[in-house]
Structures are given as structure tokens and as C-alpha cells.
């Protein structure tokens, strides 16, 4: 069991998705996260064990290497793809409640803003850290976020904005969310957002990048 788990972690760390994937070149033709996770389930390894002792461990290593600048965004994205391939096999266990994820995270690009790519990178990293992410998309009004908190009590909220004009909407959204759910935790991010702005609008955490977002959630 241990060997299989460490093989899966290795595939996630190095971005080996499945047998047909050409990447990374030194693992060409070998089984990837997809096949190995399937085998692990067939062998009766609990899904929770696969998640915590293989996938999250693999992604943790990726996070460390990325922040030490030993790998670049492409490797990180390939790892996330491998992780997603494995997660597909675990989905039935999430749905049945057999496996509990670390928590729920609602993510949205604020009203008036259509930028997507930054939010998606954050989403992917948080999923990789073992959280369930509810992605509300772009141009999201505060009411929609509030409705999602209603459906997912205790979920942490993440808001993204890429223009100074839409940062004003971020401020309003945080105010509306906090008015309805004062105990809710709201994280903010995006190119023009800063720690100062986060303090000013009463958000709980400013994440300059996906790694900071994951580190914050880990500490929760």
C-alpha cells in the first residue's frame, strides 16, 4: 500500500497524468496518477488515505518547490492536472460523505470584473490542498456569494479583482457579506489588491498568490 501511495504522490509531484501523457519525458509510457489511483481504490485503500497520504503530499512538495523557485508555473499546472485526474476517482467518495475534505472555499471574481485566469489558478491550488472549491465564476454580485454561504455554512470566501475600478465592488461585496454573516472569513486577491486595501475594507486575509492562499487555509 505504502509503495502505491508514494508512486501516486510522485506522479502528482512530477505531473504525470496518465499512461499516454508524454510529460514528464523521463516517465514516458509509465502509469500515471489516473491509473494508479484507480488501482489503489480497487485494492481497497481508503479514499481518505489516498487523498491525504498521496495527493496532498505530492501537491505540498510542488508548492514548496515553486516557492523556492525550483520549478515554474508549467510544472505546477501539470501537477494540478495529475491531481485532478486522481481526484476524479475520489469524487464518488466525496459525494457519499465517506471522505471529508478539509473544508469548503467559495471563490468568485467580483461584480463588474471579467478576469478569470488568476482566479482559476487560485482555485486549482486550493483544490490541490484538499479543499472543496465552489467556483461562482466572474462578474459575481455579493448576493450570489451570500446565497452560496447560505448553502455552504462555514465556507471560507475568496474574492478576486484585477482593476482598481472593480476593487470598489470588492469593498462593497465584503461589506455586504460581513453584514449578513459577520463571522464569515473573506480572503481577497488580484493584481492591484494590497494588504493595505484588505485592511481598509475589513477583509480577513490578503493573498498575493495562490501559495499564500493555501498557507492561510492550512493554518485554519
Amino acid at each position: 500500500m505504502e509503495e502505491l501511495l508514494s508512486k501516486i504522490a510522485h506522479c502528482v509531484e512530477f505531473g504525470k497524468v496518465d499512461k499516454t501523457a508524454p510529460y514528464p519525458p523521463d516517465m514516458k509510457g509509465q502509469e500515471g496518477a489516473d491509473e494508479l489511483t484507480k488501482q489503489a481504490i480497487e485494492q481497497g485503500i481508503p479514499a481518505e488515505t489516498i487523498l491525504k497520504e498521496a495527493l496532498v503530499i505530492g501537491m505540498d512538495k510542488v508548492g514548496v518547490k515553486f516557492s523556492e523557485k525550483k520549478i515554474f508555473i508549467p510544472q505546477m499546472l501539470m501537477s494540478a492536472k495529475a491531481m485532478n485526474a486522481a481526484i476524479e476517482h475520489l469524487k464518488p467518495f466525496f459525494q457519499s460523505g465517506e471522505v471529508k475534505r478539509k473544508g469548503k472555499f467559495i471563490i468568485a471574481t467580483v461584480q463588474g470584473d471579467l478576469h478569470d485566469i488568476g482566479k482559476n489558478l487560485v482555485k486549482m491550488s486550493i483544490e490541490g490542498a484538499g479543499w472543496e472549491v465552489i467556483d461562482l465564476g466572474v462578474d459575481v454580485k455579493a448576493e450570489k456569494v451570500i446565497a452560496s454561504i447560505e448553502q455552504n455554512p462555514g465556507a471560507i470566501v475568496g474574492l478576486s479583482a484585477l482593476l482598481t475600478t472593480t476593487m470598489a465592488n470588492m469593498k462593497n461585496s465584503v461589506a455586504d457579506i460581513k453584514a449578513k454573516y459577520p463571522e464569515s472569513i473573506v480572503m481577497v486577491g488580484g493584481a492591484p489588491v494590497s494588504q493595505g486595501f484588505c485592511n481598509e475594507i475589513g477583509a480577513d486575509f490578503y493573498a498575493p498568490d495562490p501559495q499564500a492562499a493555501v498557507a492561510f487555509l492550512k493554518a485554519k
Binding site: 514528464p24 501539470m78 482593476l163
Partner: protein, 231 residues
């Protein structure tokens, strides 16, 4: 100089799609490049060519005055609060070329399709190709403004955009008010966002005694910009 009318840029025949080295740099690579990624970038740039539908145009306006201490440029009955840094660069300008350009939304759609299929690296690379191509298109528009100015014996400045160098992005509303809305291929939303996303707007100074000064990251305070000191 013919002022007040829209000059559409002839961008169809000029090189716009991103170049490989720039995309690799934006992915973080400086000297050692992952071969797999390099090949992927080459393939995706090739695929992107059909996905770029460039459109651009500019409108010339005579400047009434540039007041550097106020950071303002006066034109017709409008003034642009461009901030002192930009005003200083345009002190000697007699005209301003206001430009807007876009590569369309096809690349953005392709990027989203890849991301939603789970092909994260491909989706991200398409997005970078789109950003680089939009910048290249702005360069093409810049060249056309230069050719037009030089045909009248005038020089041009570098280009400056609302949202950069502390020029507030909400000034996009004033800039767009100078364009005939029915003839342009970009929509400005209520939050001053251009749609398609891969669009650029800005101004270029024109005048007899104007000098082109290269853009310097020192002018900008965005320490975490992915372009910082990369070019």
C-alpha cells in the same frame, strides 16, 4: 494633422501573434527551458494565429495645454488627469493620438475551453499568448501613429495607458467618449473594463520637439507585475 476622426489601423497584415521567447519568459524560464513546454508553446502559438482578429484605431486631438504640476492635459472641453509623471513626458506634445485596439475574444474563449477541460497548462499558455499579442497589436498601432506623424514632419512619444503610472483607469470613460461607438470593436463596461479582455487603450504624444523615451519599470510601483524588468 486631421483631428477628430477615427483612423482604423491596418493590422491584418502585420505580425501580431506572440513570440516564443516572450511567452517562455512569462512562464518563468530564463535560460534553461523545459523542452516539452517549449514545443507546446510553439504549437499553441501556431494554433493561435487563426484565433487573432485584430482591430485597432486612433483619433487625433489638438492639445490646448499640458499642466505638469496639475498632472493634467486639456483637450476640447475635456481634461485628462494623467498624473505628473505622464504629463511631464508629454510636456512638449502638440497633439495626442488616442488609441484603442483588441485581438478579439477568440483566444480568451479557447483558453477557457482548455481550462474547463482540465488542460490547465494549455489554457494558461493561450492566455499569455493573448496578452502578448494584445501588446504587440498596441505596438502596431503605435507604429501607424508614428508613420502618420512623420508624414507631417512630427515626432511621437512613447504610449501611456489609463490604469498605469497612477493614471486612474476610470479615465477610460473620457478616452472612449472620443471614439464613435458604432465604429469601434471594443465595449467599455460600467466598471471601465474593456470587452474583449485582450484589449489595450492609451495615448501617444505628437509634436515637433517630442522625444521617444523608452518605458521604464521605475515609473511604475507594481512590484509584483509579471512583466517587471522582463523586457
Amino acid at each position: 494633422m486631421v483631428t477628430g476622426i477615427l483612423f482604423e489601423t491596418d493590422c491584418k497584415n502585420k505580425l501580431i501573434v506572440a513570440n516564443r521567447e516572450n511567452v517562455l519568459k512569462l512562464l518563468g524560464y530564463t535560460d534553461i527551458v523545459d523542452e516539452h513546454v517549449k514545443e507546446l508553446v510553439i504549437d499553441l502559438i501556431q494554433l493561435s494565429k487563426a484565433n487573432i482578429n485584430p482591430w485597432g484605431g486612433f483619433v487625433l486631438k489638438q492639445i490646448n495645454k499640458v499642466v505638469v504640476p496639475e498632472g493634467k492635459i486639456y483637450i476640447d472641453d475635456l481634461f485628462f488627469e494623467v498624473n505628473k509623471t505622464i504629463a511631464a513626458q508629454l510636456r512638449k506634445a502638440e497633439y495626442l493620438a488616442f488609441f484603442i485596439c483588441t485581438i478579439g475574444n477568440s483566444i480568451e474563449r479557447t483558453s477557457k475551453e482548455y481550462l474547463s477541460k482540465g488542460d490547465l497548462l494549455e489554457g494558461y499558455i493561450f492566455d499569455l499568448i493573448g496578452s502578448e499579442s494584445a501588446e504587440n497589436l498596441a505596438e502596431v498601432v503605435h507604429q501607424e501613429v508614428m508613420e502618420y506623424a512623420q508624414s507631417g514632419g512630427l515626432q511621437i512619444s512613447n504610449r501611456y495607458s489609463p490604469g498605469y503610472c497612477n493614471w486612474d483607469v476610470s479615465e477610460q470613460f473620457k478616452l472612449f467618449s472620443l471614439f464613435p461607438s458604432e465604429q469601434i470593436k471594443i465595449k467599455l463596461t460600467d466598471s471601465a473594463l474593456m470587452n474583449p479582455i485582450k484589449s489595450v487603450s492609451g495615448i501617444i504624444g505628437i509634436g515637433r520637439d517630442l522625444k521617444f523615451k523608452p518605458y521604464s519599470c521605475k515609473l511604475c510601483s507594481d512590484e509584483k507585475c509579471i512583466y517587471r524588468n522582463k523586457k
